[in-house]
Structure formats: C-alpha cells, structure tokens
Symmetry: C2
C-alpha cells in the first residue's frame, strides 16, 4: 500500500478520530479480520462534517458546471492512479474476485465522467423561459424564467454489495456533486478501508481542483446511530441509500419525521420476477443456463437478482425447471461479502425449503464454510405461493423460487399479488407475448424496468436506464439511482420573475451563454432570445 | 339554476348518498346558510370511488394523449356552458365578487386547455432512447428506452380560497388527468355546492368523450376522517393538497406512514418576504400603494400574500411604512370566505399587535361584521422579530408585518432565520441589488420564486412558473402545483429493455409516431431512428 489506512474520519481537507469505539473489517476469503482499526464517528464529527458541507454549498452551488466537471474527472483520475491499491483493499474487504473489482472500478470512473458531462452541459437545468407580454389584457404578463438548482448537502450511505459503484465515489455521490450538492458519505462498515481509500482520492481531487472545503466528507461507523444522526442533522437536505428494506424504511421514516422533512431516496431491492412463456422453455433457447448464471452472479448479491421465476405447467416448464436447477448446481459455491450475509442467506434458504408446498430442486446443500454459499432453486405452486407472505421475501444470495402456474389466468393472478419491483422480465417470442393480453401492462405497473428476453442483472449506466420502481423497490418511484437522470433527486426548480438581464443566472440570460436547449415560450430551442 | 344541487357524492357516472350526517355551506355576504344540504361521504363510498378509479386507470392510462386532451377540453366547454350557474353558486358560497368568480373560472378553463395541450403533445414523457451496441466489449449493450407513465389514482383536496382554480376542476385535477391518472376529489366543505356543480360538468364531459367510469369522482365531507380515509386507501397512489400547514403536514405524515408510502404534495402557504431597498421607498415609485393592494387583494386570502416586508431604517423607510399603512387603511373592509376564517384572522391580527415591540400602523380596527376583515399593518424591529417565533406565523388575511432592520447585515441576519417560502420579492434598482452581496443568493435558498420590482400575488400559469418552495411552503420543493410542470408530481419513469418494435409503446417506437422531441443516444431529436 502506498498510503496508510488510518481508520479516521475525513472531514473536509482534514481528518479526525475523536471516537473511542473502534471496529474492524473482515476478509471473507481468509476468514480473518483485516489489519485496520476504524474509529466510530462521534456526533461532534457529524456536526463538523455537515456544517462544513453547509458552508461549502454557498460556494459550490455557484461554480460553473465545467469547474464541477473538472472535479469529478479528477476523482476518476485519482481512482485510476490508485487502482492497484484500491483493488487490493476492495478484494480483502469483500471477498469478490479481481475481475469484478476492476470492472466495478471502471464502472465507477465511467459514472464519474458521465456525470461530469452532465455538469458541463448544464442539461439538467430544465430551463423554461416565458417572456413578458406588457400589452396582454386584462393584465400584463411578466417575464418568468425557471431553472433547476441544487437542494443542498446530501448524505450518501455506502452499499454493502458495491464497494466502488454504489458507495463512496459511486453514482449517488457523483450525481449529487455534478449538480452542486456537497456530499457527506457514511462508509459501509463492511468495507470501511475501501471507503477510506476512495475517500482520500476524492479529498485529493477536491484539493487539486480548488473545491471549497467540505464539498466532501467521509464518516465511518458500524452503529445505526451514526446514520440516524446524519439524517437528522438540520443541514442535511436529502439522502441517498441502497440497501435493505428495513434500513431504507427506517431512514425514510426518520426523514419524514424531521421538523423539516427531507426526501430520502432509498433503493431497497426486489425479487425481480421473470415470466417464462412456453416457447422460452425450449432447451435450444439456452435460458436455463443464462438464468442460472444470472441467479448465481456475484453470489447472488445484486438488487436485480432474479429471485422469482414463473412458468405455466407442462412438460416444457418441468424440463426447464430441472435444467435451471442442474445449471445452478453446476456453478458451485461462491464467497459472500461477509459471514453475517452468508449466514442470513443460509437461514433464509433453509426457511424457504421448509415452507408448505415447496420442493427443493437443487441437490447441493452443504455450505462449505461460513462465508461460502451454495446456489438454491425451489419450486412451489402458484396457489401456495400466493397465500404465503414468507415466500415473497427477498433472498439476498444465489437463490431463486420457481412458481408453477396452472394457466395464464393463474399467472396473472399471481403477478397481481406481487409488490413493487426494480425489474420484471419476460421470456418468449413476440407473438406469444402479444397474445398474452394485459401481461406487459401488468408487469409495467409492478416494476421500474421491463426486459424481454434478457437477464435483469447488469444495470447499464445510460440515460434510458431507470433503476427504481414502485414501493418497496424504492421509497419514491419517480426517481432513479442509476443513469444521468439520477441527478433529479437532488435538484429543485427556482423561478425568476421580472429579473433584469444583469442579475439573471447564466442559464436564463437572453443570449444563452451556456448554449443549452431551453423551452422559450413553449418551444424548445438553443437560440438566443 | 338549470340543475339541482343534490348534496350527493358523484361516484363515477352515478351518485350516492349513503351518509347519515349532513352539513351546509354558508353565504358570508348575507350571513345565512345556503339552501343545500350535503351528505358526509361514508367509508363505503370512499372505497367505491377508489376502486372505480383503480379499474378506470387500467383503461385511462392507455388512451392516446389526444383522447385525454379531448376530455379536458370538454370539461372546459362544460364549465363555460354552465358559467352563469357556476358563478352564482361560487359567489353564494365564497362571498367573493363576480369579477373574481369570472376571472377564476377563466383561469380554470385556461388551465384545463393548457394541460390538454400537454396531454396531446406528449411533451411530458421525457423519452430517452439508448440503442443497442451488440459489438461493445467486454459485454454487448442492450437496447434501453425510457418514458414516463402515470402513477395511478390521485386524490385531490379542494382549497378554501380558490373554489374553481385550485379545487374540483383545478390545476391538480387537470394535471393528473392530463397524464393518465384518474382523480378523486374531496370537495372543500366551505364550497361543497360549487364543487358539486363543477363535478357534474366533469361527469358530463367524461360521458361525452367516452372516458372509463371512475376516471373522476367527487366525495363531500366536513370531517377530517374523510380526507384520512382517502389518503389511507390502498388504491390511492398520490395526493395533491393546497391549504394550511397543519392540514398539509397531517396528510403528508399519513401518506408516509402507510404500509405502501405515497407522495403527498401539499402546498401549505407562506409569508412571502419582501425586501424594500432604499431607492424603492421613494414615493414616486408607487410601491406603497402597489403593496397595499397586493396585501388586501381578495381580502388577503392568497398563499402568495406578502405578509412580511423588510426595510432598512431611515427616513425613506419610515415614510414608506406610513404610506403603506395609510393605503391599507384606505382600502376599507372586505368580506372573507367564511366566518371561521374571519374570526381566525381577527384573533391572529390582535395577537400580532400585542406582541412585544410591535407597533400598530393602521388606524381602522373595527371589524364591522363577523365576516368582514379590516386590513392591518404593524411594525417591529428586526431584533424583536428574530427572537419571536409567533411573528413568523402566516396570517391568512389582509395583514402585513413591517420589519425595520438596522443595516444590510441586520437584514441578512433576519432573512437567514426565515423558513422556506413560496416567493421572495426584492424592490430596488439594479445597481443597488447588485451591490447587496449575497442577497439574491440567500433569497434563492429560501423561496421557490424570486421577484424583482413586482408583487407576488397573481400567479401566472405558464411553463416558467414554479409554485412551490422549500419546506414548509410545500412538502417537496422539487415539484410545482402551478404551470405545466405540475404533471411531474403524478408520473414515474419506466424502462423497456430489448423490446421488439411491435411491443414498444408509441412514444418509444423507432419511427417516432408521436413526433416528439426525444433524447436518442444522448442527443435531443425528433427524427426517427
């Protein structure tokens, strides 16, 4: 390691270690603690970080977009410079393989550069200009112009399963920084060292590009209290979270109960239903293998993991089910992120196998060590599934439940009882899908992303991506946490009425100095006024 | 009256009167009850309305935009056909003058037509298309396309102070209907007859344009329980409310506490601070009279009523204050919406006059009848204002509090303690404003709309309008309740991955049959792919 992991909080450009309580992270591959000790952040450190962010906001929100873009790109460059060290810490704290670490780092730098482009283009400002009509009867119409501006300091919670891409310098951080919101990250306790190493890259980039102190801070902690203090702090204006339903709901309620309520965007996972129409069960289509790989990818530790596969009874479905189970058996065991996650998985899988009417399809069942997980496939009838709430829980791990429906009506009835989802997938040929009246529409009500003939794992970072969905997939289905539209969580409109040209912000000036597409008197144009 | 006001609930295309409890509305001009009796809706009627809406949603959301536009325009035509009756009921139930009634009806039909244009243009769909890159390394990129879709049934609460424009067929209803959400309105108990008359116009328009039954229902009630039942009903997917802070907060917390939390957009009013810079105190500028008229307009019963005017001590400010008070005295009394509102106003005004350090500026103080209000102006030092939370309350009525600041620093300190506002106004010349460092930026943090040299009352309905603002002006500063962007409260994105052309919704098809502007591979274009 070129640098030392100190276990301290990163407060603006400084560090701090006021806390008396410490904790360690764990290497699930070796079954031993990592060498570092992390201080639990104190309330006083929370206050310092948030007040630094509040002050930084006054400067940071006024910076031109290309200056913020420079900062985001400098973070990406720092991550690349430190790549070897970062990958090493990441692997020690997650047990994930090197290819995954490098791929996720590439995704993270890609996101930072994509949001840099958003910052630079000012495309997020949604400008509307309605010019004055002084002669309008019965009353003159004033000049009114509107653009977006940042909400203020954002608190981001690192996610256990994406130590790079959904954590310290992940999509939440990048999207908030892009639009002028300072960010205070709460590092996930399972990969605190990775968080610190990434946090130091951000700190370095902030210095290099002359950002105001407090534009970024990192607080570490393994207790629930730290997150609560961050959400409760009066300087916090919005929260981004990716994790469990229990955690997301608790933070969301805390945000709603504040004296000044704030939006808490929590992405809380999903069971991602997959409907297999008869034609897709044909062995030549290869869906059994493709889905076995999707279910077991990353030891199943993805929020888009397909946890529920529904088909219509018949020889095709029976053969598909067996093939899927055999393919999952063939994958073998995989190391999970943490012994706690592995034991929760094993318990939950066992509980699923024990539910009334559930038959186990996979044969391997010996979890070879505390942190290694074996894939699991089980099958149940639609009627038994519908009446058992325990079968609708998310299993965080390489497990999927097959649901056998009697016919299409039974399938529709079963889909109707599902809660909101991140994704819903449909396997089948076009004619078959078209003839399944109401099926696409019903799935559209349940999910934030629909797929035809694909697997839900592997979330593209692009403008067309919606990584969100009806409750409980997220706390607010109107927003996404992946893709360039993720910035919409952190901005609000501000109207300017009758402002002289000299006082208008650049986005709203007559001559359009930013060169952006604007709605002027109802028409989209990049022309000056 | 061509038709009878029955006092019944309008449930889809039917009516219903299961409730045993009845109430009446009140004519504040005559001090007598109106002739109609209204049934309090029952929980069973709530359930019927919401289930009709749930079923209607399945059809209504799939209608082409021009069909929904036809419905909205038919409502406007019905309102115009029934204009004489509507104006008569409105005046009887509100005590507002005929000119106001006709003006507000014109605004309401204007809004319906503006949202019809939004529905027809599909401009709200925010299409993003990222085409496939099958050759991309290391993994192929799938085709991903995204557009907006409606959330589902929306519950709208009628507002006391805008029986047409913010009630049964007001902006909340029109914006939700435009994007495919059925609407269930809870009529405001102070103008239940107006609500019913307007509701019958919507019912008629829905029949004429062959809308699905349940696209609109109206439930009447004077109890808090009715609103609570509507927000709690599982079919309700979002709520629009304009009213008091207490009411808005209660509904918002109810929405957050549901098993499936839903967004409650509440616009809860504001004291709308106005900063008067020295040059604006010159009598020739006419601001004292303009603001006296703004403060007393509609008996001060507007959420954008300027309730707080701040200036810097000196002879100019003293003269301006006296002139403003004299102009308010000159306006005379005005009828308020309801005796309850009038007595609340009188109590609150008296309480303001009695606060430490507050001096009364207006001389008229006899409220001539239960429902007539006299304008009030008081003055207090900035130091006394800052330390007294009671002086920061909204006074719903023709009252404004002048705050005398020692200097610009004292002014900035005072603005800093204000809560979120719908509007903030600045009077002064451009040089003066520019030299007041940080003033515009600070007001921008506090409000949703900034005005220079204007009055905040009179909210334009146009794309550039933001009628929202940081808490407690609204529950979510990211959304507006006025202007075409008001639709954003009721929509969510849905992504379609790897969909065959034949199954994609029209907005996302290659040949762009709707002819809309779309983001295709990062560029805005209306071209086919």
């Amino acid at each position: 390691m070129q640098y030392t992991i100190t276990g301290h909080q990163l407060l603006g450009f400084s560090e701090s270690a006021l806390g008396k309580n410490t904790y360690q992270t764990f290497n699930p591959q070796t079954g031993t603690a990592t060498p570092w000790k992390f201080c639990e952040a104190t309330d006083s450190e929370v206050h310092t970080a948030m007040e630094l962010a509040r002050t930084a906001f006054e400067t940071y929100r006024e910076l031109p977009g290309n200056h913020r873009a420079e900062f985001l790109r400098a973070i990406a460059v720092q991550l690349e410079l430190q790549q070897e060290d970062l990958v090493s810490v990441y692997m020690q704290e997650s047990g994930l393989p090197e290819g995954r670490a490098r791929g996720e780092l590439g995704r993270t730098t890609g996101q930072l550069r994509a949001f840099a482009a958003v910052a630079e283009s000012s495309s997020w400002m949604e400008v509307r200009i309605d010019t004055a009509q002084p002669d309008r009867a019965p009353a003159p119409k004033p000049d009114i112009r509107k653009c977006m501006r940042p909400l203020g300091p954002v608190v981001v919670f690192g996610a256990s399963n994406f130590p790079f891409a959904f954590s310290t310098a992940g999509g939440d951080t990048a999207s908030a920084l892009a639009v002028g919101c300072p960010v205070v990250v709460k590092g996930h306790p399972m990969h605190a060292g990775t968080s610190e190493a990434v946090g130091r890259c951000i700190q370095m980039a902030a210095r290099q590009t002359a950002m105001p102190e407090g534009v970024f801070s990192l607080l570490q902690g393994s207790s629930i209290g730290l997150g609560e203090s961050l959400v409760r702090h009066p300087a916090t204006k919005a929260v981004g979270f990716t994790g469990s339903k229990a955690g997301g709901l608790a933070l969301s309620r805390l945000g709603a109960e504040r004296e000044e309520p704030i939006p808490v965007f929590a992405e809380m996972g999903s069971i991602n239903p997959v409907v297999v129409l008869p034609s897709a069960t044909e062995p030549g289509k290869g869906w059994a293998k493709a889905y076995a790989l999707s279910v077991t990818l990353g030891a199943g530790q993805f929020c888009t993991n397909p946890g529920l596969v529904l088909g219509i009874e018949g020889s095709g479905w029976t053969a598909f089910s067996k093939a899927l189970a055999a393919e999952v058996d063939a994958v073998g065991t995989a190391c999970m992120l943490h012994p706690k996650i592995a034991s929760q998985y094993q318990e939950l899988r066992t509980d699923f196998f024990a539910q009334p009417g559930v038959s186990r399809m996979t044969s391997k069942d010996e979890d070879q060590a505390d942190t290694r997980a074996t894939g699991g496939v089980a099958v149940v009838s639609a009627a038994a599934f519908r009446k058992n709430a325990r079968l609708k829980r998310e299993v965080f791990g390489p497990f999927t439940l097959l649901v056998t429906c009697e016919d299409q009506q039974d399938l529709m009835r079963t889909l109707t009882v599902l809660e909101g989802q991140l994704t819903a997938s449909l396997l089948g040929d076009e004619t078959e899908i078209k003839s399944a009246t109401g099926l696409v529409a019903l799935l559209g009500e349940k999910a934030g992303r629909l797929l035809i003939n694909g697997v839900p794992t592997g979330v593209e970072v692009c403008p067309g991506m919606h990584h969100g969905g009806p409750f409980p997939a997220t706390t607010d289905s109107r927003f996404t946490s992946v893709g360039t539209d993720a910035v919409k969580r952190w901005i609000r409109p501000l109207s300017f009425q009758n402002f002289p040209e000299g006082i208008l912000p650049p986005a709203l000036k007559d001559d359009n100095p930013l060169g952006i597409l604007r709605m002027v008197n109802g028409e989209m144009t990049a022309d000056p006024i």
